[in-house]
């Protein structure tokens, strides 16, 4: 009888959430005092900045601009519209020193995170630094360059400075400014014109310890090229480190990139990850963002449709439990006309966890014939889980088709009874319905080994241990 009663209390039909539904005003006040409570942290970043080894002039200048901007902006508070529902106090109040390079990762550890694909080109970073020993160098052809950013900077590879810092702007983004100030290593991927890279390129970032790393990646695709890049952020342990990653992507004319960002950090970790894209005409971006780890995590996927008929698909899935706080922000700038954009983000929240979705679609005056569709759906598995969802649409063109919507619901009571009445107990039914909720966004993952693993992850994630 007791579990029937429990089911009953957890059941409620889906409701359409209003923008920013359920926000607790006290939350903001609490976070507003962050910077005054921890006056030291900005200075510590400054000290560590001054200790950095020298770099080429262009980079040195860029780093200095980043540091100056970070010092001015400081960590965002919840008074900042982009951080309304997320207090970064836990990051601002802690002292993170630069993470020690190295760390104890062995070849065998890679297998846990490569989706059973040891043949894929896997570029491994440990605490932000490239590890040649752990990386694999499956051949990708002459048209493809995959190197560490550090080595490319050192070698003076031409052209990097045309992109770095130009795509991921930091005027208004404190974390990007901070990343820029400490930019040193990451991946640099360049796909030549017309190259079709069948094999995915997997960037695997391991972290441990209690430090901070600032990975910086650059992906440049040539005309009519095609490639798949996975960024995984993982950990073997459960330490409270901080990853502050930035990826800049330039999509050349008619090129097509499948980009996967998989945030699977340790459950105590802090993660802020920004992926910022510029798309030239006829280019296609397929982005999938998974966020399952971290105690406090924020993912920003920003794209700018600069050229005629460029398209983007931004999909995402976040699964949270315990006391996790997982925030997803997306931004689609429709600059040029005739661009379709599609976005589907789904969240499953259990325990006392808190999810945030903030999706902006901005249609500039010249962007006629824009076709934008955005939705965010959330499933709350416990009465104490919470989600704030804020889809935003700003349109300055008159001939456009744009829709957006958000839902927040609980497991459907009737569906639950239907499954129960067929002999399927509440525990299995809950898993099945949760999986069903996430199924459509998982189906958009074209890389099969990845999809299979994420499907398993969803099925295993919300098994009640009681």
């Amino acid at each position: 009888m007791s579990d029937i009663a429990a089911k009953k209390s957890a059941r409620e039909n889906p409701v359409v959430a209003t923008n920013g539904a359920g926000r607790d005003p006290s939350h903001r006040d609490l976070a507003g005092s962050v910077t005054t409570r921890a006056p030291g942290s900005k200075e510590i970043y400054r000290e560590d900045f001054d200790r950095q080894t020298s770099a080429p002039t262009w980079l040195q200048t860029l780093r200095q601009q980043g540091m100056a901007r970070f010092q001015t902006l400081g960590f965002p508070t919840t008074k900042n519209e982009d951080w309304h529902f997320t207090s970064v106090a836990p990051i601002a109040e802690r002292t993170f020193r630069p993470a020690a390079a190295g760390g104890v990762i062995e070849k065998g550890d890679i297998d846990r995170f490569n989706f059973g694909q040891s043949g894929w080109r896997t570029v491994v970073f440990v605490n932000g630094a490239f590890s040649k020993d752990l990386s694999s160098d499956a051949p990708l052809g002459d048209q493809v360059r995959v190197t560490s950013l550090a080595s490319s900077i050192k070698a003076g590879t031409a052209g990097i400075d045309r992109y770095i810092g130009k795509i991921a702007t930091f005027e208004q983004h404190a974390f990007t400014a901070l990343n820029t100030a400490f930019m040193n290593d990451g991946a640099f991927i360049e796909i030549g014109a017309d190259a079709v890279v069948e094999q995915p390129i997997h960037l695997l970032f391991f972290s441990d310890g209690e430090g901070v790393s600032h990975p910086r990646n650059l992906i440049v695709t040539g005309r009519h090229s095609r490639a798949t890049v996975i960024e995984s952020y993982v950990s073997l342990g459960n330490s409270a480190y901080f990853t502050n990653a930035v990826t800049e992507i330039s999509l050349g004319e008619g090129s097509h990139l499948d980009h996967y960002k998989l945030q699977r950090e340790s459950e105590s970790a802090f993660h802020v990850g920004t992926v910022q894209v510029r798309e030239e005409r006829d280019s296609q971006l397929h982005s999938f963002s998974l966020a399952v780890g971290g105690s406090l995590a924020r993912t920003n996927i920003y794209t700018s449709l600069d050229g005629d008929a460029a398209t983007c698909t931004l999909n995402g899935l976040y699964l949270t439990d315990g006391a996790q706080h997982v925030d997803n922000q997306t931004s689609i700038e429709h600059i040029a006309p005739n661009c379709p954009s599609h976005e589907l983000y789904k969240g499953v929240l259990d325990g006392r966890s808190h999810g945030v979705f903030n999706g902006k679609v901005y249609v500039h005056p010249e962007a006629q014939k824009t076709d934008g569709k955005q939705s965010n759906n959330n499933l709350l598995l416990s009465p104490t889980a919470r989600v704030d969802t804020k889809p935003q649409l700003e349109i300055f063109a008159d001939d456009v088709k744009c829709t957006h919507g958000a839902t927040v619901g609980r497991l459907d009571e009737l569906a639950m009874f239907y499954l129960n009445s067929r002999g399927i107990g509440p525990e299995t039914a809950r898993i099945l319905l949760t999986y069903a909720f996430a199924a459509d966004v998982l189906e958009t993952i074209e890389l099969e080994p990845l999809r299979v693993e994420l499907e398993k992850m969803v099925l295993a994630r919300f098994v009640e241990t009681t």
């Binding site: 009874f417 009445s421 067929r422 002999g423 399927i424 099945l432 999986y435």
Partner: protein
């Protein structure tokens, strides 16, 4: 097999069943008829264990077990099946996966080995023919995008696969055209056996031309106001529900 004794049940403060008593033996088909709001569907839901309904009085014994203390999945594992009046859509879960999970959960609960997807496919193929459904429906999401008739046939298909001891059909005939009705009825008749019993809940006599009941019970205002043989259904069809409502419930309006 099933002994219902003075069953009272409702939702919240609203009492819907006001003292139902009914005895169903193996091999029998019982039809429960009645006008809208008489409590027919509530009876079906309460027997299947829908937690939205609260039983306030009475007992239900099923093969010697106290049915009311059993969770819905335990009832199903013990051979009770409810064909829903409004089958539920579950986007994202395929019919095959759903039904195999159900089949295996029931087998597990009865100490039998689970079957793998291929064995299961063999098993369901002939059952699909029974309800004239194509194999492609197995890979579609449960009831999603199904027409009304397809949904009802899917219920009978599930029933055929799970082979329950006590099947309860809740207005399976409503909204069906005559062809679909025939298919559904044939399915039910083929599954009939001396070990099984069926309760057919319906508003119309029409279905009972195809599924011939041993007993007919007429429900009005939460009570059984008349019971009889299959001829009672015909009499009802002729005279309408008003005939009995006036007689049996002393002026109660359903």
């Amino acid at each position: 097999m099933l002994e219902i004794n003075d069953l009272h049940a409702g939702i919240g403060d609203r009492e819907i069943l006001k003292g139902i008593s009914l005895s169903v033996k193996a091999g029998e088909i019982h039809a429960v008829m009645g006008p809208n709001g008489s409590g027919k569907s509530t009876l079906a839901q309460v027997l299947a264990g829908n937690p939205s309904y609260e039983v306030t009085r009475g007992t239900v014994s099923y093969n010697g077990l106290n049915l009311l203390e059993m969770a819905p999945e335990v009832r199903a594992q013990n051979g009770i099946f409810l064909a829903f009046q409004y089958p539920v859509e579950i986007p994202g879960v395929s019919n095959a996966y759903f039904l195999r999970s159900a089949y295996n959960e029931i087998r597990k609960a009865n100490g039998q080995e689970e079957v793998d997807p291929l064995e299961f496919l063999d098993l369901v193929e002939e059952k699909l023919k029974l309800v004239d459904m194509d194999e492609s429906m197995l890979s579609r999401s449960v009831n999603q995008g199904f027409s009304g008739g397809e949904k009802k046939r899917n219920e009978i298909f599930q029933m055929a696969v799970l082979s329950p001891r006590l099947a309860i059909l809740d207005e399976t005939d409503s909204g069906l055209d005559i062809d679909a009705l025939r298919i559904v009825a044939e399915g039910v008749n083929k599954l009939r056996s001396p070990e099984n019993a069926t309760i057919v809940v319906t508003h119309y006599q029409r279905l009972l031309n195809y599924i011939v009941p041993d007993y007919v019970h007429v429900l009005a205002n939460g009570r059984i106001v008349k019971s009889g043989g299959k001829e009672l259904a015909l009499e009802l069809e002729e005279k309408g529900y008003d005939w009995l409502q006036g007689a049996g419930t002393a002026g109660a309006v359903a």
